[in-house]
Symmetry: C2
Subunit: 495 residues, 2 copies
Amino acid sequence: MTSVNETSRSIVDAAVAAATDAARASVRESYETRAGWLEALAETLDSHAPELIALADDESRLGEKRLTGELARTSAQLRLFASVVREGSFLEATIDHTDPSATPPIPDLRRMLVPLGPVVVFAASNFPFAFSVLGGDTASALAAGAPVIVKAHEGHPALSRRVAELGAQALEGAGAPSGLLQLVEGREAGVELVRHPDVRAVGFTGSLAGGRHLFDLAVQRPEPIPFYGELASINPVVVTPGAVESSIDEIVDGLLGSFTMGVGQFCTKPGVVLSPAGADLAGRLATKVDADAAGDPASPPMLNDRIRAGFHDRLSGLAGQEGVDVVAGADVVDSEERTSPVVLRTTVQRVLESPEVLLEEVFGPATLIVDYDSEEDVRAALGVLPGSLTATLHAAPGEELARTLVPALGERAGRVLFGGWPTGVAVSHGQHHGGPYPSTTSIHTSVGTTAIRRWLRPVTYQTTPDDLLPEPLQEANPLGIPRRVDGQLVLADHA
Amino acid sequence: MTSVNETSRSIVDAAVAAATDAARASVRESYETRAGWLEALAETLDSHAPELIALADDESRLGEKRLTGELARTSAQLRLFASVVREGSFLEATIDHTDPSATPPIPDLRRMLVPLGPVVVFAASNFPFAFSVLGGDTASALAAGAPVIVKAHEGHPALSRRVAELGAQALEGAGAPSGLLQLVEGREAGVELVRHPDVRAVGFTGSLAGGRHLFDLAVQRPEPIPFYGELASINPVVVTPGAVESSIDEIVDGLLGSFTMGVGQFCTKPGVVLSPAGADLAGRLATKVDADAAGDPASPPMLNDRIRAGFHDRLSGLAGQEGVDVVAGADVVDSEERTSPVVLRTTVQRVLESPEVLLEEVFGPATLIVDYDSEEDVRAALGVLPGSLTATLHAAPGEELARTLVPALGERAGRVLFGGWPTGVAVSHGQHHGGPYPSTTSIHTSVGTTAIRRWLRPVTYQTTPDDLLPEPLQEANPLGIPRRVDGQLVLADHA
């Protein structure tokens, strides 16, 4: 009889062996061909949209509208990475010609980035398309040339299997090696993958506890590997006195829309808001929440029962703290069935006394308003904030305070917003989705085109004949990519 | 009474506090000013060269000629990083203008890299200038804008103190904040620094055991930090039948020169050489070693007695293995006083049976010739090689075997040489000094201009008014740096 352990291990061994073969096969293909594979994946998502959205809605309760947008974002992301592969800057191709006069002398050196090899991607629950089987981690890794083994999220197994099946078919149709994209299921298999000696990196989006556990496994291996984890983020917002004066109503509306978007299940949800005590942001927000509830008392569904239970646990813990008041949604805190918006209120003084307790992420539609009395309060609070994906400043145009707060927020977060709200993460060249721990475990992003850097490592070729060099480094620049030649960045037209 | 522990902790606390202040002060200065700080450091090294070289020779036994070159390399490296700071590409400045038609819509997003904050650099024994107080890790970190606390190597304490003193004076003279460059001493202080909550990254060049211990501390922190370690590398060389035919004499001479350079105390020393059995490379090398020894029987000094003892321990262990012959330098293996060249010989079969034992780095002037009988032998041996900084191929021009070996070597190393020898590491844009574990713990280099990326993290500003943006991201590009604007790389002249 085969034990569960042995089954899981043999599935993982087979997947990694296939991915290792695929890694060698895919580096022999042209970048143009590899870009085509990403487009084939985008195409299959788009052409199966109705079927996939229905499956996703069954398993995630996120609704057709949101899921339609998310699928479009996911296929657009795959196409964006195809354009990155074609443009070629991601290779960081660099040529130093021989320079005997340098100290020390420089031989002919040609550097570029190459794929790390097979990688593992842990899918998230809250974005069944954009952070799952064909999501950003997978798209960026495949663009880098790294085969991907996805650990399916148990929250949407049928969708995961179907997307993986369609993806494998699309890749096969486009002539890609089998083993380039694979799916495994189960926690045990996930752990085996992180420990497997031939796995070269891990991408993860999920909880702090789960992510840290896997991070620890990755770095404790005999041969440690990079673990790119996106774990927990409270996404602080600072509202200045000037912003209160000029636009408090818009702030109340915008904040409510943002912290309840997707039932508060976004990694960029604004979870802590520093606001002048006199502005009574908490009271205004509560009035708005209550008015909305009177109009539509429905309790929106969370992704699954485990997540809903976690939301209530965390809320009850927070609401039970001295100096923390529940100003809207007290019935939600009291009932394990309800998930409507919850507004909590406390003071900077309380936050400074218990930052670990009060500043822990609440995954769900709740936000904590922290009243401050002075600029010194704000600075003291920023000093104890944990690292976040985002930090948002609402200030009046020209307000002097903004000049010191923008850099201060940049010390604690990877994306600083002036106005606006952090939910909704554009996929572009200038995006950064990452920040100091515990928001991520890396100095690289997981969203946007530079996410590709995570799955690459440099190789330099020294005094190597032109015909033995990879095309990006050949003297004539046959791919027409941007390169740094003898220290100068050179743009070259595509051939 | 204060214990050693408490003293060490208070010294470390004070150093980190000063570095944290310096981090905030230095980001307020212009890049031009920061480039000037690096040049001031280069200038002080050059102008104190005779004094510093004498100090270094006293403590390292490396000789005036080598140390003169190494100091020149170190000041040139500081100047190269000054040019990197001025050129501005390292900031990866990226601007996405608002694009409501994108999926999802793109707000104004502006991304650049910013310094991580205070970092710690562990100096190495074998390069008292180039990998010590003002070496590559320090130069790249200061270029990034990250204050550096150097943990002095105990092998050259007086030199370390003098360089740190001169460096601090030069920085003060150039108007840099105090705390930008500091020196601490002692293992205990090093450990405290890696654990200190306000330290943001660590650079290390040294042994596998010491490096792994510190790596483990860095990743086990409540808030893990990047640990850029360069640990151990055997730097394999493959000699093909074609190379034997065309240039065996040059290979013997070149290999001898390379594995004995700096008394074999280079991290890029060629430690394992795969050679056709029929070519008798080991025998030819032994003949050459013996002839040289007859002319000059002196035993060159190693860096210190601890390193010499380590060399003999490791050699004795290797020489005692079944199927390993000492073909030159048997008297060195037998005597704890001698350090002349040692040539060992074994076969691919023995390597495949005991890769962990036979392929461990020997720090010192020894190399292991591994005889192979077939291409299959070579491929099998490459399959068990640990990750290395370099891998070198000696093949005849046009030899077909090179076509498969170049990519195979690229899988196991960060720098692939076609001909030539790996010792001597140029400092340039195209250099990569890094490779799969255990050669390094990172996907970034520790030598060459891209080493700067290790000390930086991205921050993206969303819909932020131009006058609140850092200069590299302001619309008019006041610094005239290369940027990616709406996906297109744009070169801009310096203003």
